[in-house]
């Protein structure tokens, strides 16, 4: 080939373009060693949790927090399995939805199962929600959990009354205009079913759906407000409302930590889910079925098991919650008296025992449509 000025310049041009491309390609291939992307509920995205991990690994860790499970599952379904390494959602999704759909991959059992033995007794291995349906695969790790039924101002409605009357409080005409509703529509579907005296986690008959719809209309019509956690806590503190559904330790703990111990998450004594009156949640964090999964994903799951980090997760910004690692004395001892009061440690065990665990509602979409229509009747 004759080297002319033109083809020399072309070669230089090509090299100028190809050089950085090749470097970028190498960086892309090796980059996942130092990169971790987490899709999670608020808390895991806080700097308190992530910064020590970032600096110890010299890694770029990105975490996006969302406040409902369906959106997160949807993101993976829409093709974002290539982006995320870890997904942190409530208990039924890993076992019943994400694993069957191939959205997550199992964890190495030998490495992770021993952690369950140091957790609180109810999480002992094999922990149902962390396992696949056939019981063979470990699908994720458990950490934050809590009861989630409703919250009352005990100066206005005593804890005993609230526990005894349960969800019927929200159908009591005397309390119309005195309660609020959290804007978490997936949890509200559970809550409205409970007010109607129907087990949410089963297939429903037309008559039950009709009752659900009527109850939703009545409950939403009688609500003073529908809002986010901060608004509802503010409304409870100011006296705008005396109680709200749905809610629990997760929602009321920030107000309790600020000294408003008269606000309390309540779990009814009895109810329609095989006699249980409350609903609880347990977060399961799983590795995403990412074709190029970061090796830091499993490292991070081990990192949050450490007593100090587990305590930080429990009291990360936003909401405060019990963690399964409190079964480990080293972790439990890190909680101060005030922190235990904020998360209602005194009644946690009995409230969890009175609660059914969050599950999939088979006809959720139909119920959500009915509830959305009921909400529109507020105006």
């Amino acid at each position: 080939m004759n080297l002319t000025r033109r083809n020399f310049m072309q070669a230089v041009g090509a090299a100028a373009v190809a050089g950085p491309m090749a470097t970028a390609g190498r960086a892309l291939a090796a980059g996942r060693e130092k990169e971790l992307n987490i899709l999670c509920w608020e808390g895991y995205n806080s700097a308190q949790v992530l910064d020590p991990f970032r600096s110890s690994k010299g890694a770029t860790v990105k975490a996006e927090s969302l406040t409902n499970d369906p959106t997160m599952i949807n993101r993976l379904r829409a093709g974002e399995t290539r982006i995320w390494d870890l997904i942190n959602v409530n208990n039924p999704w890993a076992r019943k939805v994400m694993a069957p759909a191939g959205l997550i991959k199992p964890l190495p059992k030998a490495e992770f199962e021993p952690y369950f033995d140091t957790m609180l007794p109810q999480f002992k291995s094999p922990y149902r929600w962390a396992m696949s349906d056939d019981g063979k695969d470990l699908l994720g790790m458990a950490q934050r959990f809590g009861p989630y039924s409703f919250v009352v101002n005990t100066d206005k409605v005593s804890r005993a009354t609230a526990e005894e009357q349960g969800w019927a409080l929200f159908a009591d005409p005397a309390l119309a205009g005195k309660y609020g509703i959290l804007e978490s529509d997936d949890w509200n579907v559970f809550g409205i079913f409970m007010v109607a005296g129907i087990n949410p986690f089963k297939e429903h008959t037309d008559a039950e759906m009709k009752l659900f719809s009527e109850t939703a209309e009545k409950v939403f019509k009688g609500a003073k407000m529908v809002g986010d956690i901060a608004s509802l806590n503010q409304a409870l503190v100011s006296g705008e409302i005396d109680l709200h559904l749905t809610g629990g330790t997760y929602s009321v703990s920030p107000a309790r930590a600020d000294g408003y111990l008269n606000l309390r998450a309540v779990t009814p004594l009895k109810g329609p889910i095989d006699g249980k009156g409350g609903i609880s949640w347990i977060e399961i964090t799983s590795t995403v079925n990412n074709p190029d999964l970061s090796p830091l994903a499993t490292e991070f799951l081990k990192y949050v098991q450490q007593p100090e980090v587990a305590h930080t997760v429990a009291f990360a910004e936003g909401t405060f919650n019990p963690v399964s690692q409190m079964g480990n004395k080293k972790c439990f001892d890190l909680f101060t008296k005030d922190e235990l009061e904020a998360i209602q440690w005194d009644s946690l065990e009995e409230e969890m025992a009175r609660s059914a665990e969050y599950d999939i509602v088979p006809d959720y979409e139909k119920a959500l449509d009915l509830m959305t229509a009921a909400k529109r009747l507020r105006g």
Binding site: R5, R6, M9, N68, P70, T71, I73, N74, R77, A78, G79, G180, E183, D185, D186, K224, M225, V226, G227, D228, A230, S231, Q234, A235, S238, G239, E240, E365, L368, D369, T372, A373, K375, R376, L377, R378, G379
Partner: protein, 300 residues
């Protein structure tokens, strides 16, 4: 450089009868590409999702009118959300036009050296997130809050129960969108030449006639832009109803949000969004076409 020049002359030489691309079009190329990718592509994706199989991610791969059938089903009450959003947007436009006009007039004609300072007062809140400002109003109106607490301290029985009502939503919208009406309107009023007003006065026109025949028509471009901006923003408002209104009214933006989140139904959300775009742009264009912009802009 030599290569580049050689290349350019070669192109010109070899295709003298090829498609002539004007320098203007070539220069605007990057902007056109950027707009195409950043503005049109997301809109097209939303449109594609609107015609996709319900509860799927099959945009561009499926075509169905099922999402629209669900929305137009007589049993579906989603029309009330559209109606509320449009009604709030219209009310906001009308009330803000009345509220902002005297302020805009004052900024241009009356406030003198204070005009700059007053403008800053209206601009300053824009530097703070809308949500934070609305939460601030919650603290003002809430029971035992700033208003209620202050009135009680002064011996009154307390403040009005405004929070979590449809009225609170309207208040929030007026507050949030005021600058979007005010500044285009101020510009419009600034466009009115002082000489014309003087001339009208010299010819015997009264104060009202000057306003009606000279000031208002000449300021109309600014007023219309303000109205259009406010209407479009108001029709898509959501924070005011969620934070100040306690969802006492469900707006269409909230229905779209629920479709994309709790309902896991992106195609339905996209169909609702597309209908909103059609309604809002349709109404805006109809109003604009009726107003004869050429005459207003003085081109005739």
């Amino acid at each position: 450089m030599a290569v580049a020049i050689e290349h350019q002359s070669q192109t010109v030489d070899t295709s003298p009868k090829g498609i002539q691309v004007s320098p203007g079009l070539r220069a605007s190329g990057p902007v056109v590409v950027l707009l195409g990718l950043g503005f049109l592509a997301p809109l097209l994706t939303v449109a594609a999702y609107a015609f996709a199989t319900p509860k799927s991610f099959d945009a561009f791969r499926s075509f169905t009118l099922a999402n629209f059938a669900v929305i137009f089903d007589p049993a579906n009450t989603v029309w009330t959300s559209f109606a509320w959003s449009i009604a709030y947007a219209v009310a906001t436009v009308v009330l803000l036009a009345i509220i902002a006009y005297p302020i805009a007039y004052g900024l241009h004609r009356l406030f003198g050296k204070w005009a700059g300072f007053v403008s800053v007062l209206f601009v300053f809140p824009l530097f703070v997130s809308e949500n934070v400002r609305l939460y601030g109003w919650v603290l003002f109106f809430i029971k035992n809050g700033v208003l209620d607490g202050a009135l009680k301290a002064l011996g009154f029985s307390g403040g009005p129960e405004l929070l979590y009502t449809p009225g609170a939503i309207l208040f929030g919208m007026l507050y949030v969108y005021l600058p979007f009406m005010l500044f285009p309107m101020t510009l419009g009023i600034a466009m009115v030449p002082k000489d014309l007003i003087d001339a009208a006065r010299d010819l015997g026109a009264g104060r009202f006639m000057i306003w009606r025949e000279v000031e208002l028509p000449l300021a109309m471009p600014g007023i219309l832009i303000g109205m259009l901006l406010t209407f479009v923003l108001g029709a898509g408002a959501i924070a005011e109803s969620k934070i100040l209104g306690g969802q006492s009214v469900i707006t269409i933006a909230q229905d779209i949000e629920v479709a994309f989140t709790y309902a896991q139904n992106w195609p339905l959300g996209s169909a609702l969004a597309l209908i909103l775009v059609v309604i809002v742009s349709g109404l805006a264009l109809t109003v604009l076409s009726k107003l004869d912009l050429d005459r207003i802009l003085g081109r005739r």
